[in-house]
């Protein structure tokens, strides 16, 4: 095993090698040099299992990067695509004896390559859009209305079809009617209606005051799931927190994972000042949470590194905050299991990659669901990627859907009424899965905080 020496792949095509670029190359070389080519990452990689191609696996990608640095692989345009074909799900890292972060290596290498071969137009467009939080907030209602409207099928059949073809794919992925209502034309039933705190909180004077907390509502939630945003806010208020909603920021993860490194770093730096202060920063998006925790890696060696570390120590997934509170006295219902006990609502939990492996959190969401009075049934492969992974599901539809089909089958097999998760990207993908592979038996897809807001325990009280 030899550590690659650092040379520009193609001196003529490569832009002037700056100190920053050199540092990037060195970092890539050091990461790739840790790989022993042992292959432990092969059987756990969902894309390797699906395609059977070495390039899809972490060993394949790490070796391609090393080959590039050592001059055996040329930066042909298809190289970007080979590296881009990654869910960034970190299943490989988990299995890797040296814990190599292939997801990060892929981002860094794409950033390096972007200077040589450029990035696909679609990624550039998505990144440009998400970098403008105001635009995201404005676009949300329009896109959702389109996705859920009666015009859509007409528009797509008509003359607009060729123009809308890509948009139709996107819209196909957007949430349809959601179980507890929201922006889908039906009224929001009950508790999640007002952001100003739920009925339950107002009813109960026994809720202790827990002080100020910041809730980062990410782009995806704002764009597609404002009802989740309300449920999270309400849940935190119910728990006694004074919630400050931060809804003008993008965590930068899309940019980072598409290899738009400089933009991602700038966004991270501006979020560091936006989120400075002593309060906890709560997320209900697994991807945002894991990105915030990774800022110190993104900004390694810069003046922001220590601020990034201190932010990481203050970031909490909402499930962690809730699990750390006392379980509600009414849950789990007494005498469950005995014949007279009321049937509890069955749910199953899908672990988002960026929560289970990204933040090491698996027990807390389940505990929170149990406390809320649900019966949690495990599905097979609960922590296997659903294939959503941001823009992956658009770029690589058939592979994404192959993973989704397995996931959907596993969900259906549990007989649960709801499948609960903690990431808007997963929500979207799982809903899509129910449309495509649900066989009419669709299980309802909800976020953890929606499950809390509509918990059987609180409904009885």
């Amino acid at each position: 095993m030899s550590t690659p020496s650092v040379t520009a792949p193609d001196a003529a095509a490569a832009p002037r090698v700056t100190a920053a670029r050199e540092a990037l190359l060195q970092r890539i070389a050091n990461m790739a040099g840790q790989c022993d080519r042992c292959g432990s990452c092969l059987p756990v990689c969902p894309l390797f299992e699906e395609t059977g191609r070495e390039t899809a696996s972490a060993r394949g990608k790490v070796s391609l990067v090393r080959g590039l640095l050592e001059g055996a692989v040329s930066p042909a345009p298809d190289l970007f695509a080979r590296l881009d074909f990654c869910l960034q799900c970190r299943a490989c890292t988990n299995a890797c004896p040296s814990k190599i972060r292939t997801d990060e290596l892929v981002s860094l290498a794409k950033g390096q390559l972007a200077g040589v071969t450029g990035r696909p137009a679609m990624l550039r467009a998505v990144d440009g859009f998400l970098a403008r939080p105001k635009l995201v907030s404005l676009a949300g209602p329009l896109v959702r209305a389109y996705a859920r409207s009666a015009i859509r099928p007409l528009a797509e059949k008509a003359v607009l079809k060729p123009v809308l073809h890509r948009l139709a794919d996107v819209a196909d992925l957007l949430p349809g009617r959601r179980p507890f209502g929201g922006d889908n034309g039906r009224p929001n039933k009950g508790k999640t209606r007002s952001v100003g705190g739920s009925d339950r909180a107002r009813r109960s004077s026994a809720v202790p005051s827990r002080g100020k907390i910041r809730y980062l509502a990410g782009c995806f939630v704002r764009l597609s799931y404002p009802e989740v945003m309300r449920a999270t806010t309400a849940t935190l208020r119910d728990a006694g927190y004074q919630v400050v909603v931060v809804d003008d920021a993008c965590c930068g993860l899309p940019h980072w994972s598409h290899g738009d490194l400089d933009r991602a770093r700038n966004m991270a730096a501006s979020n560091l000042s936006r989120l400075s202060g002593p309060e906890l920063v709560v997320t209900d998006c697994a991807s945002c949470g894991s990105a915030l925790m990774d800022y110190a890696r993104w900004l390694a060696g810069s003046e922001h590194e220590s601020a990034a570390k201190s932010l990481a120590a203050r970031v909490r997934d909402v499930s962690v905050v809730l699990a750390s509170l006392e379980p509600a006295p009414a849950a789990p219902p007494a005498g469950s299991g005995s014949p007279e006990a009321p049937e509890r609502t069955k749910v199953t939990y899908h672990d988002p990659c960026h929560l289970s492996r990204g933040q090491g959190i698996k027990a807390q969401p389940r505990q929170v669901l149990c406390n809320a009075g649900y019966e949690v049934v495990e599905m097979k492969g609960a922590d296997v990627c659903c294939g959503g992974s941001g823009t992956f599901c658009l770029e690589y539809q058939s592979d994404s859907q192959a993973l989704l089909e397995k996931k959907t089958k596993n969900i259906l097999a549990t007989g649960a009424e709801y499948v609960v998760t903690s990431c808007p990207s997963c929500l979207l993908q799982l809903e899509h899965g129910m449309k495509l592979f649900g066989d009419g038996k669709a299980v309802k897809v909800i976020h953890l905080t929606e499950a809390i807001q509509h918990s059987p325990v609180s409904d009885q009280s």
């Binding site: 095993m1 432990s40 059977g52 390039t55 070796s63 090393r66 001059g71 004896p97």
Partner: protein, 469 residues
Amino acid sequence: MNGVNQDMLPDQLHQALAAIVGPDRLLDVDNDRFTYSYDGSFLPLVPAHRPDVVVFPRDVGEVVRIVRLCNDHRVPLVPRGAGSGRTGGSIPVNGGVVLSLERMNRILEIDRKNMMALVEPGVRTMDLGRAVEDVGLFYPPDPSSWTVSTMGGNVAENAGGARAVKYGVTKDYVLGLQVVLANGAVIDTGGKAVKNVTGYDLTHLFVGSEGTLGVITKILVRLISKPKAKKTLLLMFGSIDDASECVTDMLSSGIVPASAEIMDKTSIQAVARFRKVDIPVEAEAALLIDIDGPQILLDDQAGAVTEMARQHQAVQVSVAQTSAEADELWVLRRTMGPAVAAIAKNKIGEDISVPRAALPEMIRRLGEIGRKHGLTIAVFGHAGDGNLHPSILADLSEAGARERVDQAVAEVFRAALEVGGTLSGEHGIGITKKPFIEEALGKEGVRALRAVKHALDPNGILNPGKIFE
């Protein structure tokens, strides 16, 4: 081109193969081919030995047609499993076709009455292990790579593993094979009859043949009953000599552990970078011991092991309390090779095997060789059967490092041979140990290997450039 004279252009070859497997089970793009130019060995990625084409047959019929095509046109053909080999066995040094058997991965039969399993070569070792354990049976060979390695690769390398000390290696379980010969003929060797002396033992000729004699397309293995219970112990010692002597004395006193793995401090610390491992300050080496059998005998055995450890000045003895704890200890051991590799710029990992009684002597000599050349040699391995993986750690870009490492490697092999051992316990010869094979087998020994090779593969198309020149 090493005895092979390909008379087909890459384009024609591609078309002919596509006609057999279809366009979806064939790779010919530069970057895809690159990722079939390496395996788990420490051979450098550059220069890259890209195959011309990678094909993924689904059944023996397709394999036959591919082999015939290659034989007719003198195209090198390299069988490949998961590419986890440690000696470069699946690297297509002469280009040609990489024949990946990964998609022939069905367990065809688990015959509980006869206690046998019939599998395709692409079945992963662990998947077979799990499947037979589900029905109360046991397939003991467990190379540390078992999550990824294939049964075909295991047979072709005669893979061992931690349990070899009690249960033996792959060859002890293979009862029969289906093999596609270089001329495309299909033969079935061995069979379900336990006793079988019908002609030469062809089955065992192909075990350990490293893809140079034929393509293995079916494997019949023997199973045994699953041991009733198991206990895992971790023993820490103040010196590696104490640890190695403990193993030797344990075995000669009649205690037969299911596994007895040795590891020195450097190796343990390498794993401890990524996993929580409690290492007492005074510990310099450890033994990971598994004992198995009927529950009632386990406590006695554990007591005997502990007593033996005390006699060898063990500084700590711990017993895994739950199966999760035991699994964690085994993950520690299984990830050791790659973790050791990550602590140095270069790791030259070896695989020597010595008679059990010579283990302490061999370990002392490794220490001397390291000191002499100013190199760190991390030592871990299957101590119970005398199979060690000394790993020389170096930075080969430093001036003179290459020479020192080469000398050290040669001395390691020589020492192994001197104490009555050999240069490969379980990883095979492949490319990395080719230069030393004559020293190990003698001129006539190598001549005999060549004669067998020539008889079965006169055109030299099967995995050329491996084992011997």
